[in-house]
Symmetry: C2
Subunit: 335 residues, 2 copies
């Protein structure tokens, strides 16, 4: 069972948020560990490997906080947080196969240990295991929100695949990919949390938008980090996105600013997957010169500001303050 | 809209069944063509390729017939038949990636045309597209039946993966794989059809069992065919299952009948993926000698008989007679 409503705090840090909602998260963690129940031991093994890989459980935390916005106290339905984490994990399993990734958070990926076939199937299982358990709640709005999120996730992934090595992607096309691939599940986590806590239909929609805007802000902050962070902070090399053919906002912004010849050369190199270390250094210099990194950062902050406006309909509470802290953390973090 | 209830026929052939329910199937076909609606054109392209690949639409037909058992006439909810076909298609897309298949029904597989990544994602999309549309029916029993089927499909696939090249698989372990991988979705198609047609909860359960037994019978007939059909009839080479490492009922039956030395040698070859043409010829000779093919055929027929008993609760109607014809067709066919 979840803990009671924590006492209102005047100001909060992210550490305090984790601490205040520790009991909710522990309960969700217990559901994650005990609810896999696959009849094939291999699925449990693969899922445990990736679920214990150090994910921060941001989606379950958001669900729990949105649940508590009305003052409601989560009961057994906090299990929904673990089911959203199952779906998130399913996407990671398929992502690692698609990207032929060897490492995730510094550990070997499931596909490297058990192979692509087992990873695809374990992902399929986690998706459908989650959807089956969600159906048992017999809440049509929850079913709709979760199924829509899964559909958007798949659409976002395939739109991203089609946009791979396509540097002439427009900003709006890119933002749609981000909305689907990153925003949709966070939006569902927030909306479902609110629905279980008994918010109004209008508030549920605001929570959906809150999660969506938060997700876009989070991804844009990630895009910015990819061209600015040092290896130690991010655990990956600078410009890794582009080396994998991923076109992100700083690149979309800087391209039209380049002299026509430079632009043509870079576009051709990206399309041919022939970008080298030297190109990356030159590119990041251009990004600094033309304000592309600042632009990305600003866009990220704008989405966070819009997200916070989506919370205006809710009265002040510790949960609401915690949501604001989480939003800030997600665009200023290394998670 | 579906057609009215056809006039009762005293006896039916499969061709007459296809003909009698042509309008239902045409409507389902129209839903299949027009309901993909993915925002990524690539998904629509991939899905159209495989959906137009000559599948017999057995699952939609079963749904339609079970719907009509009560005398109900399908309305717009016949779209559910197309959604079940989407889920079936999703499994085929993932299957072809898992099996590294080059051909399906004589045409290049999606993975060969568009690659593994696009095939995995198109499969993910079709699953979630179907589940989202199903949720819109706001019928908890339908949601539960469909989500359970998807879960079983994934479990069945992974159990089969684990059983690959494991010739010491027991018959009951094998039957569980068949139940999950082949039976579950047919069972859901029958149950959901019945539910939409307004059957009682007890009848819905009987229809579920009908579909399950039919699915097992169908797979066992397929196992039998794999060791008996000639190339022309089946469009694939004899013993193809074993060459792909798949252990099926005729093999499970014949293994304990072999002299200990032969058994050890064959088991080792299967485990090492080193079975050759000569081994296959010898093996099929053993299967004939020890009645393993007859045993498989008999088991298949027993499941069909049990399936027909599951229909006892329904009054005589053309739909019921058609179901019996379909059941017979499924174990005596080349589909």
């Amino acid at each position: 069972m979840g803990s009671g409503q924590p006492v209102i705090q005047s100001s909060l840090t992210m550490d305090e948020v984790w601490d205040l909602y520790r009991r909710d998260l522990e309960e969700i963690e217990s559901h994650i560990r005990h609810n896999l129940n696959a009849e094939a031991p291999l699925i449990n093994e693969i899922a445990a490997h990736i679920l214990e890989g150090g994910g921060k459980r941001i989606r379950p935390l958001l669900l729990s906080l949105c649940y508590r916005l009305t003052g409601s106290i989560p009961k057994n339905d906090l299990v929904l947080g673990s089911l959203i984490e199952f779906i998130h994990t399913a996407t990671l399993l398929h992502d690692d196969v698609l990207d032929e990734a060897a490492l995730r958070r510094g550990r070997p990926t499931a596909r490297r240990i058990w192979g692509n076939r087992a990873s695809i199937l374990a992902g399929d299982y986690l998706y459908s295991r989650a959807m089956h358990h969600i159906a048992a709640f017999k809440n049509h709005e929850v079913n709709d929100a979760m199924a829509l999120a899964c559909k958007r996730l798949a659409e976002g992934e395939i739109l991203q695949l089609c946009a791979n090595r396509q540097p002439l992607l427009s900003e709006s096309e890119y933002l749609r990919i981000v909305e689907y691939k990153t925003g949709a599940l966070l939006a569902a986590a927030c909306k479902v949390g609110g629905l279980m806590g008994g918010v109004s239909p209008l508030q549920a929609e605001e929570l959906y938008q809150f999660g969506l805007n938060l997700g876009i802000a989070f991804q844009l902050a990630d895009d910015w980090l990819d061209y600015t962070a040092n290896e130690k902070n991010l655990g990956k090399t600078l410009g890794q996105d582009l080396m994998q053919g991923m076109v992100t906002l700083p690149l979309i912004h800087v391209l039209p600013c380049l002299p026509a010849d430079d632009q043509r050369t870079l576009v051709a190199k990206i399309e041919r997957n022939a970008v080298e270390e030297g190109d990356l250094l030159q590119l990041t210099a251009h990004m600094h010169q033309h304000g592309s990194l600042g632009y990305t950062r600003t866009r990220s902050r704008e989405y966070i500001e819009t997200a916070l406006l989506n919370l205006a309909t809710f009265e002040d509470s510790t949960a609401k303050r915690a949501l604001i802290v989480v939003a800030d953390y997600m665009v200023n973090r290394d998670c």
